[in-house]
Symmetry: C2
Subunit: 453 residues, 2 copies
């Protein structure tokens, strides 16, 4: 146990400084997709860790975004590995933001800015929680090894190799993951695994320049080639039609289905309302939508660009067309298999002209339910929020859990409660509630106390 009153008083006393620090974090445009602001953000973060008294090392990676690694000693032999990331998604489309994405803007108890939710709010509030602990409680109840990477938003392309090279250094008894949140009805959510992802670009080339569209009867159009190729990957019933793709998916075990079906679906209707949708895909009910969300792989068009897309009519036959496609993976579908199957599928249908580029990939990862870190998180959740959490066997999203949990054989739990249902991660007007930011510090302290006990 720890002195909560002293801890909470410290948070109140230092609230304004904590928010100022948050504004400094948001102000750095650490967009991994184009590398802007990555090194300044890594430096700012390393400095913040040092202020805790941590041993901090920046590990340069081939992609240019270093891993910022910090170690803090505790008073027990238990070690918690904490994972967060300091990079953010691109801020486009800028015109849909109501405020500057890189200026922390507070309105009606909500803090807006790129990275407020994903993942700078969670990262910094945990750091500030450690500061408050050290200042009010004395030594930490467990050792902390903190991995903060800068390539999460581009599929953590270099993290598996880095992890492999630092297996001994990273030994721990449990991993605290990012992405802790709550659902539309305010119930804290946790996850013990995640889907994998393979992110592709498909490119089609035509003439070496855009041509007047009057030549269409005789000149190949890469936009059509791309549309035809894409249309073979998934049909209008949203069934993936890539040869052999679904064959790789391991049957959903009875225990997995039971764990998912046991989860409430009363948060789904509010999501429909919030997103302006009249129903789920193919008219699925909430139960079917939930089971599908956690058990099925996906093939998603994230973007397409070709030819003229401005105002009015430009009669052009494009020289080039490309699409961005992400494939969320479930066991036993791996990144390499997905890539191989799509390539072969396209070739078999005569689309040898379509170039398939793998931009990033992460393997799917499941970890055991009921682990020690999970139990500590549940207790901390009760203590902090007075609520029973919903525990998802896996995220519908992806992250580098595979290297840091599966590869190292350490159970993982995503927990905390900073990600709310309208947080707009990856979208304009990304945000976090001020109250949730503060509660994240209280949850972190509670978790440390129970995990170290």
């Amino acid at each position: 146990m720890y002195n909560k009153d002293a801890f909470d008083s410290y948070l109140k006393q230092h609230h304004d400084r904590f928010v100022d620090e948050f504004a400094q974090f948001i102000a750095v445009p650490s967009v991994a997709a184009d590398g802007r602001g990555i090194q300044p953000m890594a430096d700012l973060l390393a400095e913040r860790f040092r202020k805790l008294g941590a041993r901090v090392t920046q590990y340069p990676l081939p992609g240019g975004s270093p891993v910022v690694y910090a170690e803090l000693d505790g008073s027990s032999n238990s070690t918690m590995l904490i994972y967060n990331h300091y990079d953010v998604q691109p801020e486009v489309p800028l015109n849909l933001w109501d405020s500057d994405p890189f200026k922390l803007t507070i309105k009606d108890g909500v803090m807006y800015g790129r990275g407020t939710s994903d993942d700078k709010g969670e990262l910094l509030s945990r750091i500030q929680a450690v500061e408050a602990w050290l200042q009010t409680q004395g030594p930490l109840p467990c050792n902390i090894k903190w991995v903060a990477e800068g390539e999460e938003e581009i599929s953590s392309i270099n993290l598996p190799a880095w992890t492999e090279a630092h297996r001994d250094m990273l030994k721990a008894d449990g991993v605290l993951w990012e992405g802790g949140g709550y659902d539309t009805l305010g119930r804290p959510t946790m996850a013990a695994g995640c889907k994998g992802i393979a992110y592709f670009e498909l490119h089609a080339d035509g003439a070496k320049m855009d041509l007047h569209s009057s030549v269409a009867p005789r000149v190949p159009n890469p936009a059509w080639r791309l549309v035809w190729a894409l249309s073979t990957l998934k049909n209008e019933h949203d069934q993936i039609t890539i040869d052999g793709y679904m064959d790789q998916v391991a049957p959903v075990s009875a225990s997995l289905a039971a764990a998912i079906n046991a989860l409430p679906t009363d948060g789904y209707a509010p999501e429909l309302e919030m997103w302006g949708l009249s129903g789920w895909l193919n008219g699925m009910d909430d139960v079917a939508a939930q089971l599908r969300s956690y058990t099925e792989p996906t093939v998603t068009i994230c973007g397409i660009e070709t030819g003229y897309t401005g105002k009015g009519s430009k009669t052009v036959l494009p020289a080039h067309a490309y699409a961005k496609v992400d494939c969320r993976l479930v066991p036993d579908l791996t990144v390499a298999t997905a890539q191989k199957l799509i390539r072969e599928h396209l070739d078999r249908r005569g689309f040898t002209d379509i170039e398939l580029r793998l931009i990033g990939g992460e393997e799917p990862a499941d970890s055991p339910m009921g682990s020690r870190i999970q139990q500590a998180a549940v207790t901390a959740c009760h203590e902090t929020f007075g609520k029973e959490p919903l525990i998802y066997p896996r995220f519908a999203g992806s992250g580098p859990m595979y290297p840091l949990s599966t590869m190292l054989n350490i159970p993982v739990i995503s927990a905390g409660a900073t990600w709310h249902p309208n947080a707009r991660a990856h979208s304009p007007n990304e945000n976090i509630f001020v109250k949730d930011y503060v509660d994240s510090m209280r949850f972190t302290a509670s978790l440390l106390s129970h995990f170290g006990a």
Copy 2:
């Protein structure tokens, strides 16, 4: 006949001023797609017509681009209707231009800039030819009625109604059209008709904001909806599969096929080379490619935009997707029929969610071969270039020939020789040869003399 030496001397003497005037025309960004610079260009053009001594009227149209109409009296009862346009295509993508698109840039005998070829070079050189005639020969050999519109690049949406309202005013014995050019082997080309066009946008909507792509198993993706809908319009053999579309196409008459097949195809191989292509669509030979170019309708994807298309990976499920599609029409496929057939085709396949917007349309137009204006153009071609022209029954492109020729029942010929095979109309680095610009004035004088005789 006319005094060619005096005419040519005048051109030489005033060459620098003519080029300065051309630079002024190019400097005005008269992009019809977004309306930039349209009125300043109309004013500049009206003023230039007035300097010839013409009666000039600007007719405002609902779209905001006025018709600039000019009349000049001649010494005979013959009247030539001349058609040109003062609007230009958008200049994007800007990064592929080697010079400022709106600054006339002369290098190695070539003049670069948006509109140099399409269609300011042809328009202004004809005006300057009339000036040179009036200054060196006296009265014009025929009356001239000049229609210069500012919406050609957005399918002349208001010209049919304007023409209908001014039928009496526009009476003439022949129409001189824009777009006179020559092929890769330097042979002047003419055309007595053109294809029509229906320009559409297809829109698909999903959630009211871009979402994290992890929701893909349950949220409809408008990018997929669009791809699936598009893929039903044309198959991988480039056959149009819109229900009933090809049934509307009138059989190719023996005389039309003969006129097209009589045209040489030795200009086709150089085009392949210039465009960086290894062959025509579906491996067609030049003869088949030529026949198809002039007789078949098209369905062309001109552009697609959805989701994230920047650098790297952004895992997003788009809120919206749209495509621009142009359909080149041949008799008896009309704009309204094309629209109706596509709408019904999509509905029949469950794509009632895809919005189909008609952005602009022009009907196909054929006019008789061997007309008086055509014969005068052939004679002028021999006199100016010493070459036999290739006469195409119709353009593979489109233009508002239907209102000004078919509706008014006046034979039309596209002639002159300013459009060369690498002119890059609608593309970056659009250009015209200085020599062709000057020859256009000489051709115009010769045509006036033979048409008025």
